[in-house]
């Protein structure tokens, strides 16, 4: 038991004392006398631990397989005016809609200041760009938006002449009634923001690269 450790010290080992015969204090408590060597060693160990932590944190980031699918190329040649095609991009539906001249005119007819969400929400422009129709597209005929309702994430249904959805000719989200116009901007309902426009570019007259 530990008591054995505290058994009486044999008499032949002297009680250590300083020159002035005071008992020496057993522990050193002043940090200012800590040696540079110990600080350097401690700092190196801490730095090593920090650097070693990085791989364990980075492994949770999207893997190379996920990143390889972060960018897709689609062919939109077969899409007719007034038609929408849905692609899958980064796990979400992506709407590519070929707009008729009437739909473009309807989108241009309203000023951004009259909209519930006045910002363009276009990843290809700055954050503060207003939600004019020109700021929602690259080529007016082609509208590309992420098909995720900005309210709680449902997929909105596209409005067609045969089957109109909502009063603005764009999309209606059946979950809670959000209505989007022909530029994908929110007009009515609980959704706070316009449908997001992803980063994309035309790599040819009928080819898009998204992401």
């Amino acid at each position: 038991m530990g008591r054995a450790i505290l058994s009486r010290v044999p008499a032949d080992i002297p009680c250590p004392r300083h020159e002035d015969n005071t008992l020496a204090n057993a522990t050193e408590t002043e940090p200012t006398r800590r040696d540079f060597l110990y600080i350097a060693t401690g700092a190196a160990a801490a730095m090593g631990a920090g650097l070693a932590a990085w791989p364990f944190l980075d492994q949770m980031n999207p893997s190379s397989a996920v990143l390889a699918m972060a960018s897709i190329e689609v062919d939109i040649a077969a899409i007719q005016p007034g038609q929408q095609v849905v692609f899958k991009w980064r796990g979400h539906p992506l709407f590519v809609r070929r707009r008729t001249p009437k739909e473009i005119a309807a989108a241009r007819a309203v000023a951004p200041s009259d909209l519930p969400d006045g910002l363009a929400r276009n990843a290809n422009l700055t954050d503060s760009a207003p939600a004019s129709d020109a700021n929602r597209v690259i080529k007016p005929e082609w509208l590309v938006v992420v098909g995720v309702c900005t309210h709680l994430g449902c997929t909105p249904t596209v409005s067609t002449p045969q089957s109109p959805q909502g009063s603005y000719g764009g999309w209606l989200c059946h979950c809670h009634g959000s209505e989007y116009d022909t530029a994908g901007r929110i007009r009515k309902g609980p959704a706070p923001q316009n449908l997001a426009v992803p980063p994309y570019a035309f790599t040819g007259p009928t080819k898009l690269k998204i992401g």
Partner: protein, 422 residues
Amino acid sequence: MAHSSYVPKTKLGRWFDQRLPIVRLVSDSFVTYPTPRNLNFWYVFGAILTLMLVVQIVTGIVLAMHYVPSADAAFGSVEQRIMREVNYGWLIRYIHANGASMFFLAVYVHMFRGLYYGSYKAPREILWILGVFIYLLMTATAFFGYVLPWGQMSFWGATVITSLFSAIDQIIPNLGTAITHWLWGDFAVGDATLNRFFSLHYLLPFVIAGVVGLHIWALHVPGNNNPLGIDVKGPQDTVPFYPFYTVKDGFFMVLFVIFYLAFVFYAPNFFGNPDNYIQANPLVTPTDIVPEWYLLPFYAMLRAIPSKLIGVLVLVGALLTLLFVPWLDTSKVRSCRFRPLMKQLFWLFAADCILLGYVGSQTADAAWHLGGIDFPLVWLARFGTLYYFGFFWVLMPWIGKREVTRPLPESIAQAVLAKGKH
């Protein structure tokens, strides 16, 4: 346990100490804890083992974020997803796989050190027994873990070892087969087996951690043994754990980590078997089924016995023998430094384990061809198994009483002073 010298320095510290004295516990156990001043390099392996347990748990949890425990997807989730796609996945996998080997290397050094210095003798018997439990849990954990990549060796190693339970059929008909099917969840090793092995592989390390806590507690009650094997007589025989052993252990642990990471970065498949880079195929048996190196001595013992049942009993017996060591050794002297005969038998035992390991790595019908005579290695294994059991059950009890031991020093401090070192 020594009287606690922890004095909280802040009001918050005092408030906390009155409610949950955990800072006191840490201070008493790892800061002011009086440790014999003569502990040598071989005593760092306890700390190394704690480090390795933490490393394996952390890397294991991270790997489990990407691993898929299904027979169809397991191999791909390791070799494609983790090794190629996940950021630093290859590094974490190699750290975990090589970590298992390092864990066992350290535990064998730790166990052999305990045998050499008599650390299992009174009053540390329970400490030793807890250690044996930890070793058995480690063996089970490693066995389950090796199955998870679902390579050829994973599958066939699992098949061979779990099939051992069917040897019980020779005692109670049909019971062994029933147990084996129960373990498999199927009529052969398969998806059901893999899933449950994953669950158990995740669970057992935390059981190990709990037993390690008991192990360290059981150590701190009597205090550490030391290379002289003599009791601590007073404060002049000890130094506070911090900073003396934190810095000494820290230094040796970094050396160990350098050795470990040299394998991870420059020879990551040294301890492995190429057959495990082939996806498991229940229809094709590899030419040689071998477990990982740390299980080879027991594998050799198993194969040394022609009868399946006796072979299993010998294997189990070899492991359970370790539990009895504190009572098998009858010597009053702890440390082999003062036991010249036991010291030689100990080194023979160590050589025996290495010999058994070597035989375990060869094929069952391997033989040495010495000048025209064929010497099957299985006879080496039989001889080695005999010495293994003889060392514990015959030599330890017999030598203890008859050995002429060398005179012990008066105290640790005196021995240290006599050497003129610390």
